[in-house]
Symmetry: C2
Subunit: 449 residues, 2 copies
Amino acid sequence: MDPTTKINIPESHRERIVIIGGGFGGLQMARKLSRQDYQVVLIDKNNYHQFQPLFYQVAMAGLEPSSIVFPFRKLFQRQKNIFIRVTEVTSLDAEKKMLQTPLGHCNYDHLIIATGADTNFFGNENIRRHAIPMKSVSEALYIRNHILDDYEDALTTPGYDLRQELVDIVIVGGGPTGVELAGSLAEMKTHVLPKDYPELDVEAEVDIYLIQSGDVVLKGFSDESSARALKNLRDLGVKVLLNSRVTDFDGKLVHLKDGSTIPAQKMIWAAGIKGNPIPGLPEGAVTYGNRLAVDRFHRVQGTEDIYAIGDVAYMEEEDFPKGHPQVAQVAIQMGTNLAKNFKLRLREGKEPQPFSYNDKGSMATIGRAKAVVDIPKPELHLGGFVAWFLWLVVHLFAILGTRNKVFVFLNWVTNYINYNQSLRLIIKPHLPPKGEDNKIFAKTTQGQA
Amino acid sequence: MDPTTKINIPESHRERIVIIGGGFGGLQMARKLSRQDYQVVLIDKNNYHQFQPLFYQVAMAGLEPSSIVFPFRKLFQRQKNIFIRVTEVTSLDAEKKMLQTPLGHCNYDHLIIATGADTNFFGNENIRRHAIPMKSVSEALYIRNHILDDYEDALTTPGYDLRQELVDIVIVGGGPTGVELAGSLAEMKTHVLPKDYPELDVEAEVDIYLIQSGDVVLKGFSDESSARALKNLRDLGVKVLLNSRVTDFDGKLVHLKDGSTIPAQKMIWAAGIKGNPIPGLPEGAVTYGNRLAVDRFHRVQGTEDIYAIGDVAYMEEEDFPKGHPQVAQVAIQMGTNLAKNFKLRLREGKEPQPFSYNDKGSMATIGRAKAVVDIPKPELHLGGFVAWFLWLVVHLFAILGTRNKVFVFLNWVTNYINYNQSLRLIIKPHLPPKGEDNKIFAKTTQGQA
């Protein structure tokens, strides 16, 4: 691609807002700016929005990827001021107010960085090479295929020790992702695997480990909820190791800091994230956790007309002196606020409003009729069936699109009735014949770290 | 793998029937032999059965792969005499009655070859390298991703001629697969693309070609149905080229035998299939179309205790002197008959029954309320809404599993109401980090020709 090529976006008399990333924050902004007097360009490397809170259900074969992702073009079909470009930003020239992408360069009047966060391996190269992240629906599907493939292999692997590597699963990180995945895999172990693999002694052979560095799971939740989640996990048979830490992993043996080891080929890494800013920002802009320092108006420090929202943004507020939690609610509220400020800007004499986070609470599900919910105002800590039901309702409403809601709901109902997901399918990608260049495949590989 | 390793299947006093391939024929046999006094080993390279008649709907983003495939293990959860092995047969030693697989070798008392058919490129290496086959659900999904990716690229490709390569689609082969795919893509062009890609002049730029070597489409159907299908296709805007033939394709330009060319990067090959027998059979066994010559009892010519059913089998019958059509109905009926013969074998004095095909008719759908159905007895040729509705009912009932039926039905209903599939998602496979060996990925690549 000739670097002087311009990305093909119609000329407009309107100011152009470019949003990088169609996650919770970027998507919310684009939706709020539809039919406004701006030209909005939404750039994402995928053509769909991903509903991250349910990735773990894709990994455990409870939901299809298509039920929790939603194509941008369908969402914006009737919004004529919104342009979608499926590509990646490779660099920023803040002086020229210009982005570079593989499709060409793109000018902006206002730039919104909503690129979210990526897995943080804390510099451990071995772990990066061998652990499995779960930050995209493709990765969740990969985990599913990997687990099912290994059970198939275990059937024909003689010897208890060799089989252990294949059937045991180690999950690192006791946040909501790790807890929800561990809980659902434990239920799969109890209710699905013995029926699917009668030749394996599932009860005796399969272990689900959850490794957590702190002394509680769900840090950030109330003490009550953390304790309840831990009890729920242990009741389901998850081996929770607290105050533990993975020091190394070679793809076969997980090393812990106390010197002990766990033989396992699958280690799922949900132990940390880091901000994912775009290249070309001034050095001073990047702060704790690789996030972008922004003021209360979402403006990135030391820049002009550049904003950041969601997981990639680091904003200090009175109640959040160390920044906001990196969760969907913050991203959505930031997207709403920044869109509102852009709308105010169109009306003379209106001042932008500073962001203030309204914490509606936290929730995590551990298993069937097992969940925890913390609500700050009025302070309330729920558990058991009530919390679980609330979790289902909230997530069902949050999923985009009626079709997706219906399909997720039906999947949940059938799984609830017969404890038996139908989605245990190892559908491998079709690759082009050997020796053949193929752009779909090439794109995919490029996308990898 | 040490070649002396034995695949891990429990020893049994029962005779062992090994079925290779879990398509319509092999699956039917396995189901009919469940709870019978045989040990049944079902070998397939996937862990699921694929419902081939609806592949085209996966390709045009109307259905999810998971709705039309069904995991073997779920199907046989309570059948203790059935063992599933996800692997491929690499060779046969008929003297030792032994198969070789990457998991080890496997003895049999009776061998059923139900390996179906694969795409036939008629020896044209260029076409094999560049054309897209549609003989698996992975390939159907690949077509979907390819089409959507190309539309995204077309948006940023200046120049009518360059865009033509990206947006035009050439389908080769006027059988049911080609006709159904062409019809559904034409409907997608009319009803979906203009809404998703308002920046493209879809009506003027996008062309769907169907190349057919004969002078009719749906050869083998009644003249009335063939004519009706052709009219339906042309009404939908498909450019049907009869008496035409593709002579070459370099990935950018489709060459036809009359010297004309069509600029297109996507050529979908549904022009022919060939039997897919396993290596190691005696030479004389392989006959027309690379199929295995079998007698009326499904026994492969020149072998002992080896049977073939479905697309890979070539059996001459009074009414079918050149073999049966390679369709699902034949495979299912052959599976039923051979299973019955094995059941008769267990009862003293019972003779096996020769196979006789009961042709229930043929059907193909071209678009909404556009289909053709031929019923032989009483001779009946249906078209339009009635045929289309019949097609829906028959296919819905044929899909395995209540969940799949419900999900396919709901997808059809929503697509019918709003002409607007939600599945236009380019979900790329997650690949392991660069430089990393990974068995899932390795397996996938090995599976390619």
